[in-house]
Symmetry: C2
Subunit: 657 residues, 2 copies
């Protein structure tokens, strides 16, 4: 039975307010309520408990008629007396509705506070101090960093981290200066070092010229370009009302989550022909990020991270730097997360929104063949970008959700930041006679081979929530008919997926298109109304299926999966992933092979990068981008931007600089 | 023996002047010289005969020392007395150096003049007039268009076209209103109709709402966005000196060719560390464009076009529309081609060049872990775009060559314009019981399935002309060792191609990287200096290998080919392609399996699109883009933009709109 309460004035104005992330006050409310029944609580995740979809849909369809709105609940993962709790708090009724101890494998998101504490431990740990002295290094110049350890077949494990240290000694770019050969294991509940091994000595890379700060650069410099800016004298064409964003024909809700980062909800597009707002995506977000390194040595083998579930894509988000991370015409939004003690903390400017005009062409045609003058009709492409940047240790992930007037949603992930560098005895490739698991980038400096797999949860509701998934195969046909000079062509054959196994797809094999359609709605001429996924990468994992990290990252086995909507199936790598056994992943859920035809379905796409480092990636990586598009496919009766009005031309201001 | 002459003052200033396209005066000089020995000449191609590469390289290496430059020669393909001539004209010595009759299969580029003449023929041809009347259409509203007929196994064929007609009747978008069922064959030498077949009657689509002109649109309109412009108060950061372009660390030569369109030559990048200008690409251009349709009916089967060789990508280029095709900060260049009578004609604004700042991030990192303040360093991405748009009948191809400060060259092809529409008896999908070879887009309107394959000639000279091609395979390795918890990883294995067959690559199978390296030069730590191709598409043809159009488009069999440089191997589909037999294509040249290791090599990449039309593509297509990147890979010792200077910040002008 849906829990409902009287709609606030705010919610009346914003029918999508029930999707808003928890406010600072609500976070304090959560802290207060939980502290009533528990002394020492360590908060590892606090976020909005996604409202029940049926309630939301019924509310949206008739909130004009009544004024009741789904309850707001918070979901909490906390550590209490060395146990993991899953707690639900009803913010409307101001009470804890459930509090369960989690007895499964694995541990929750790490907090900053415990990572910081763990990083301090080696600096007062005698054996480590000895190791530092043995290497002739100054302890005062050592800085340490924490790494999750994955799972390698053990039964119950304690909640531990491995701590690796680096040698600053004036170098800002300490990731380029690993102190190799040492592994320190920290028990997070005890917060002490429970394992220590100094296996071998490797020179600390000099890391000359790796300081990336503008202020400290010496000549020679690259050519300096002249100034350039985007000028919008009348301001932006989008409006932000709380978390509701409106731009062109689009309307969507943008929320910040400490695990997923940006969450796009209730994306709909206004169709002028039908004079109605049509649903496209109920919810879309980055569900998990799998980053396995390809080095089997004692200090590296375990580096097979699930960044969202272990470190938090949102938690690692940065305040965006105006004019640098986002252009001058950007508008910023703040985000809030919970600190270990339950207090709310703010990330200023965690999102930016801006209109992008890159000089691209929306559509065009030149027609010289008609009597009279040549016709040339061109429309410029302007889009709306929502950006967040998350820095998970050394790596920087630039996450762009881009909305286009055509109805396309384009997601682009930019990889920048610093490589995970391994110290090496080698100073030249010719010396190398063994497997080094990477590229020699500079003296004593290895860039280790690794992958990035990003799994996107795409709950499309194409013109309604009952959808189907279609794989359109382009099949070669051989013909042998006297009256036909051609011997071959290809035809498009639609396969509608009936169960989950029909929609497990490895890309790169054969020519296909992938559509989510509404099988209950057709265009005037009878095509299914749909959206098409245009994948940007066909990369698949190269690890053995039975390898432990690949079991945890099992969602990468296929580039595409389709599941029936299930409120509890949010995280492709599982809810509790640190040291988890991969028993709560997309691959497991999907093995039930449930029906997915004409149902509320979720499309999961995994974007993959294999990274063989090159010297250009050192000491900081030029952005490498990849992504995908969701493009309307027979969703509209015809080109939806045929009648787009050309924006008023802005004359270059003729005034003093 | 290299022919040389005294360097003009201009050439002294611009050492790459020998790459300049023919000037109007030079085109007249060509016409005059050829007309001396021939009465009736029809000029089908006139362009610069690419100077001999060894001469160019020696000239570039020591033009400071002497003042001699390679001769300028023109290459001409002409029709004289119903024969195809290949003529070389020495512009320096002002004489025809060779004039050979071409006796092979096929015919040259079509001229506008003969297409126009052919299009007029049906309108005075009694059987066609009867066909029009039979359909109850007004002859005055009929417009016709020419189509090359391909080759379907015949021996010697005459030089013919097929003409298809459309019904305007007030409709600007006549491609949406085909008069189906009629095939008229035109002999171009006789310029009369030699074949005619009215096979069946199909309703002409109403094509309601297909007028794409802004001036004629009726409400409802899409939301109008507010004005936005790029503002560069100090002007652009690039300089154009004749055809030499300089921007940031880049320098290259940009020429217009009536067949290829934009030709990028002598692209080099300045390396501040080495304080030297380093060669990257000797020449790059779109070599051929294969567009086979997938309809086997009498009126459509032969539509398997080779746009560059049959219609001319450059010849079909449009004057770019300021503020629409290119942003406000764009600078334009003109281009010249030869008309059928040999007179020069100008395409104004055939190229635009502009700096793109799309709000993207060149590189970034946030470092919170250091003592003191958090470091956030971000550099914005600005690039230089060179654009041309070619409209081959109904289709518009947007061709962008983009140069980045990182050393990356990115090529993007945008597909827009109008679909090739086929008339149909069907008004709803439910009526269809047969193969219709396409998608029903509107009443009586089919969008026919087709492909676009674009083959790029990429003569990379990575730090010199002796290069090798390396395929780096990411190979899964299974391990089974007690002391290693991991069971698998992947390693990077380099395969250096020795002969052409080693470098014939179908993409999409397995994980690999593709590099052109200079095997004679290494970085300080011993990596080969190289450039990496990052393909944007893995599409391959689905036609039978023994099918005639696939023989002509044989260069599409592999996505990648590498050939030893050969001045005569310019056009992937052959030099003379209209009705050709595919006996002079990349596939044939490459079958010799020549040595390509440590040689001057050319990389050929084919970018493919399979196009299943959707209703959004009707009546004009929102741009669909694809492309590839050439990215430095151990070309630089480290990130070449580490020290890039942030452009002076432009304050938004505070002045009256």
């Amino acid at each position: 039975m849906p829990a409902l309460y009287i709609l606030s004035a705010a919610a009346k104005k914003k029918p999508d307010a029930h999707q808003d992330p928890l406010t600072p006050n609500e976070l304090i409310q959560v802290q207060t309520l939980i502290k009533i029944s528990h002394q020492n609580v360590s908060f590892h995740y606090v976020g909005l408990d996604e409202p029940k979809k049926p309630e939301v849909l019924s509310w949206l369809s008739n909130h004009q008629l009544n004024n009741r709105i789904p309850h707001r609940l918070a979901f909490v993962i906390a550590r209490i007396d060395s146990k993991t709790h899953e707690i639900f708090v009803d913010l409307s009724d101001n009470l804890v509705v459930s509090d369960k101890v989690y007895n499964g494998h694995g541990y929750p998101l790490l907090t900053f506070e415990e990572q910081t504490a763990a990083n301090e431990l080696p600096l007062t740990y005698a054996p480590f101090i000895a190791s530092v002295e043995k290497r002739g290094l100054k302890l005062s110049e050592v800085i340490c960093s924490s790494f999750t350890i994955g799972w390698y077949g053990g039964k119950r494990t304690k909640r531990v981290l491995k701590v690796m240290c680096y040698y600053i000694d004036g170098a800002v770019n300490f990731y380029m200066r690993p102190i190799e050969g040492i592994t320190a294991t920290v028990d997070l509940d005890e917060m002490n070092i429970t394992g220590y091994h100094d296996r071998l000595m490797v020179p600390v890379p000099k890391a000359d010229g790796t300081d990336y700060r503008e202020s400290t650069q010496d000549p020679p410099f690259d050519t300096r370009l002249k100034g350039m800016t985007v000028f919008q004298p009348d301001g932006p064409s989008f409006t932000i009302d709380g978390h509701s964003v409106r731009w062109a024909n689009w309307e969507f809700h943008l929320a910040f989550d400490m695990r997923a980062g940006p969450v796009i909800s209730l994306a709909s597009i206004y169709d002028p022909e039908k004079d109605e707002r049509r649903r496209v995506m109920y919810r879309g977000y980055l569900s998990e990020l799998f980053v396995p390194y390809m080095d089997l040595t004692e200090e590296w083998y375990y580096r097979t991270f699930l960044d969202a579930g272990e470190f938090g894509i949102g938690l690692c988000a940065n305040p965006l730097k105006p004019l640098r991370d986002c252009p001058e015409n950007a508008v910023f939004m703040d985000g809030y997360f919970t600190m270990q003690d339950g207090k709310p903390a703010k990330i200023s400017k965690v999102f930016c929104l801006f209109e992008r005009y890159a000089g691209d062409i929306l559509w065009r045609h030149t027609e010289p063949a008609l009597p009279g003058d040549t016709i040339t009709e061109v429309r410029q492409e302007t889009s709306l970008v929502v950006r967040m940047v998350s820095t998970v240790g050394n790596y920087d992930y630039i996450i762009d959700w881009e909305f286009k007037q055509t109805g396309t949603i384009k997601v682009t992930i930019g990889l920048s930041g610093l490589l995970a560098i391994k110290g090496s005895v080698y100073t030249h490739k010719d010396q190398i006679r063994e497997e080094i698991y990477g590229t020699l980038l500079a003296e004593n400096t290895l860039g280790v081979h690794h992958d990035h797999f990003l799994s996107f949860h795409l709950d499309l509701d194409v013109d309604g929530d009952a959808n189907s998934f279609i794989k359109t195969n382009l099949e070669p046909v051989h013909v042998n008919k006297k009256d036909i000079p051609r011997k071959s062509y290809w035809r498009a054959v639609n396969q509608m997926a009936k169960t989950e196994s029909d929609a497990k797809i490895k890309l790169g094999l054969g020519a296909s298109e992938f559509l989510v359609v509404n099988p209950n709605k057709k265009t005037k001429v009878g095509n299914y109304i749909g959206y098409r996924l245009i994948p940007g990468s066909v990369s698949s994992p190269l690890l053995s299926e039975d390898d432990f990290e690949q079991i945890r990252g099992g969602f990468t086995k296929y580039n595409l999966w389709v599941t029936p909507y299930n409120k509890s199936e949010k995280w492709a790598g599982g809810l509790i992933v640190d040291q988890g056994h991969g028993d709560d992943t997309l691959a497991i859920w999907s093995s039930r092979n449930r029906k997915i035809e004409n149902k509320d379905i979720v499309l999961w796409y995994t974007l993959g990068f294999h990274h063989v480092p090159h010297q250009e990636d050192f000491p900081v990586m030029p952005t490498l981008s990849g992504g995908f598009e969701l493009r309307p496919a027979n969703f509209f009766e015809h080109n939806p931007v045929l009648k787009v009005k050309v924006p008023k031309q802005v004359k270059w201001p003729n005034c003093t600089k």
